[in-house]
Assembly symmetry: C2
């Protein structure tokens, strides 16, 4: 008997196949039981008629609790009403394991309860859809850079020092000493770019921020390209191309997950190059016009990002931020040294910043000055200064936050549902 997964069922019309999965739902109508069976690759209705199966199999179909695991045998039949286009006319049903009463029911559960049961909540069609979109986002970004000839490089997770200040670092006991969890692979990515030309880092990063907003996790994943001999404008083009590629691939490959999430894809279909590009100063003007109490020189917070991203129907690049509110490694704008060659990308529909990046300072002297200005300890960064001592070149890069990007593309409010096992200030289990 051929074991087939739901995503491939359309190739077996009229054939008798086996499905292996879990009972997600059940409906009864006279002498027929309609089982909704999910197998992780999709969900399909299995029709069990009292006269079509043995009495024990019908009893099973009638009684077995939700989330019990089963093996179903039946004939694949076309059904235009089905989301997958097919249903299974069941001839046999075998129990693998009977579930205890399932804690997650159709009623409304609080998020705390669902998060405590995250290992089970992932089985819901909505959460499974989010995981599939997440995988497609990461793969699209990787494919984009692989095809451009970038080399994937892993930055270390355990680091001797902070990349952007020390207040939001997690400290790790490391044999007799201590280490910190990385906040960004960028500095290491710069070293790798000097060795390999164009690279990207894909990995987890950590921020011990005491913030409980819908955009923050303590553990989140980033993809961070870094390019030797690249300057500011072409780096923005690269980010634009990557976002277009991600959206295109998700639209192509995740039609079913997007449907499960009831995502309005028309807003995603608008995501084509060129994206609007405004300067930080222009952004401040827009925000002032809309009555927000902000001054030139202030950083853009979540509220300001939401207002700006709602003002445009596609992703928005904001460039040329004041150097004072950006990290020490940002290169100054040669036309106006108050400004940094920094760029953020704000996702539309109020989702805010998903990319941050820019051109890096390549002058040893200027970098030393800025380090002193920021009061940062040079010792643990000597290796980073070496990149400016031995054949410094113009270079640039950016980081895309995977969870924020998924939240935008999937159209969900809080990033905590975009990762399998979210880590928050008050959440470390399961």
């Amino acid at each position: 008997m051929k074991w087939v997964t739901v995503d491939r069922i359309s190739g077996y019309e009229g054939e008798v196949v086996q499905l292996k999965g879990w009972i997600a739902n059940r409906r009864s109508s006279g002498k027929v039981r309609f089982l909704l069976v999910r197998d992780g690759h999709g969900t399909i209705q299995c029709v069990v008629g009292a006269h079509d199966v043995a009495p024990e199999a019908f009893e099973l179909a009638d009684k077995v609790p939700y989330e019990s695991s089963i093996v179903v045998t039946g004939t694949v039949k076309r059904d235009p009403r089905s989301p997958v286009g097919f249903e299974l006319a069941v001839s046999d049903l075998q129990l693998v394991s009977e579930a205890q009463p399932y804690p997650i029911s159709k009623k409304d559960h609080g998020v705390g309860f669902l998060m405590d049961h995250r290992h089970l909540w992932l089985r819901s069609s909505r959460q499974a859809a989010l995981m599939k979109i997440r995988a497609a986002v990461s793969k699209a970004a990787r494919d984009y850079f692989d095809e451009l000839g970038f080399t994937a490089v892993e930055a270390p997770i355990l680091t001797p020092t902070a990349c952007e200040g020390t207040t939001s670092l997690f400290q790790v006991g490391y044999f007799e000493g201590s280490a910190y969890l990385t906040q960004s692979g960028q500095l290491y990515g710069e070293a790798a770019a000097m060795a390999l030309g164009t690279i990207y880092v894909f990995g987890p990063t950590f921020r011990a921020e005491k913030s409980k907003t819908r955009r923050h996790l303590t553990e989140f994943w980033m993809i961070e390209p870094e390019m030797a001999f690249w300057e500011f404008p072409e780096t923005i083009d690269l980010a634009e191309g990557m976002i277009c590629r991600i959206v295109r691939d998700v639209l192509e490959r995740c039609a079913e997950p997007l449907r499960a999430l009831e995502r309005d894809v028309s807003t995603l279909e608008k995501v084509t190059a060129p994206f609007p590009r405004i300067t930080y100063s222009e952004a401040i003007d827009i925000l002032k016009e809309r009555g927000l109490p902000i001054q030139w020189g202030d950083d853009l917070g979540g509220d300001e990002e939401t207002v700006l991203s709602e003002a445009f129907d596609r992703p928005l690049f904001v460039t040329h931020y004041p150097a004072a509110i950006k990290a020490f490694y940002m290169k100054r704008d040669p036309n106006d040294p108050r400004l940094a060659l920094a760029v953020d990308l704000l996702a539309p529909e109020g989702h805010g910043e998903i990319i941050g990046g820019g051109q890096r300072e390549d002058s040893l002297e200027k970098l030393e000055e800025t380090l002193a200005l920021h009061g940062l300890d040079r010792g643990p960064l000597e290796w980073y200064l070496d990149l400016r001592r031995y054949g410094s070149v113009p270079h640039a890069g950016f980081g895309l936050g995977i969870e924020r990007c998924v939240a935008w593309i999937a159209g969900i409010h809080h990033v905590r549902e975009t990762i399998a096992f979210p880590r928050l200030m008050d959440r470390l289990y399961p």
Copy 2:
């Protein structure tokens, strides 16, 4: 002027192009300077004749220190003696940044010195080749599972508990409490497999072992597939298919890096299915025959693995280990409950274990027994037990250590050169 990278130079024969890179080496012969220029995508000889460039450019070619960054303009000429098949007849040379005296010279440096300068050492042709092979290994493994319809899932790095004992865990301060760095994504992968059918986890894992062998890092990457409804034999087939795919892709895509490492590829070309499969008991017999002081029931250490893997000319599966020396989650062999349905893959040429895996215990009762037997605290694992309470199914998986796999394929002795920034007991910088 067209900026071209060395890997794409063959498409520009006879054309004038620009290269951007660093001076890796220099030779002089009368009125000609031969500069070896690397740009991260490859290395090419650039021929600078005194009569072909401006005097300042020739002066530059003659004097500028190694690792200085430059932009070279010239005509692409076919040259059969060149490893890339071409050289550049230079018409102009511009300095980007003059390097300070480069600390890494052609003379022999100790590994400690080179590791202190890892951010620069990566620029050497050997280290860059290793990074390219590493990227190709990871991509091949991902592609293999993506094409089979597996969903990529990220397991959490910060965990509340230990997967395999507590002695080798790194502890992290987590706000008011503490967390541990993950040793394996497997347990979370099992939960994801119940939601998504077939998944793989790709991410960093951590072991705080006080061992300084050539096979150990404190931070290393694994790819860990996990499959619901899969049993033991097909899981071994899956691992075999993955290894064949990895080797095939590396042979196809990394000819130049393998050449740079002087890797004998004939041993890699032999890596085709089926791989030999022996039981642990047969392995013990082989080791005893060769005079090793080992008894049935002992774990296989590095020495034993080396002897076994040298006894075969392709990767070797060892199966059916004593349950007592394997982790608590291993399923017992129904034919002999002293044994676990566990499998390791030993790489040839003495490289030892690169894969560990097997079928997981799916009975709640048996798992509870084993937890008690191992003296493990059930509390933090209640979520894991839930997977056996709600629709338990046969399932299996394995983990491939990326660094060990790269060390074998690249033919190098120590895993520390297979990752960009290795972390060892005594190494946390740069």
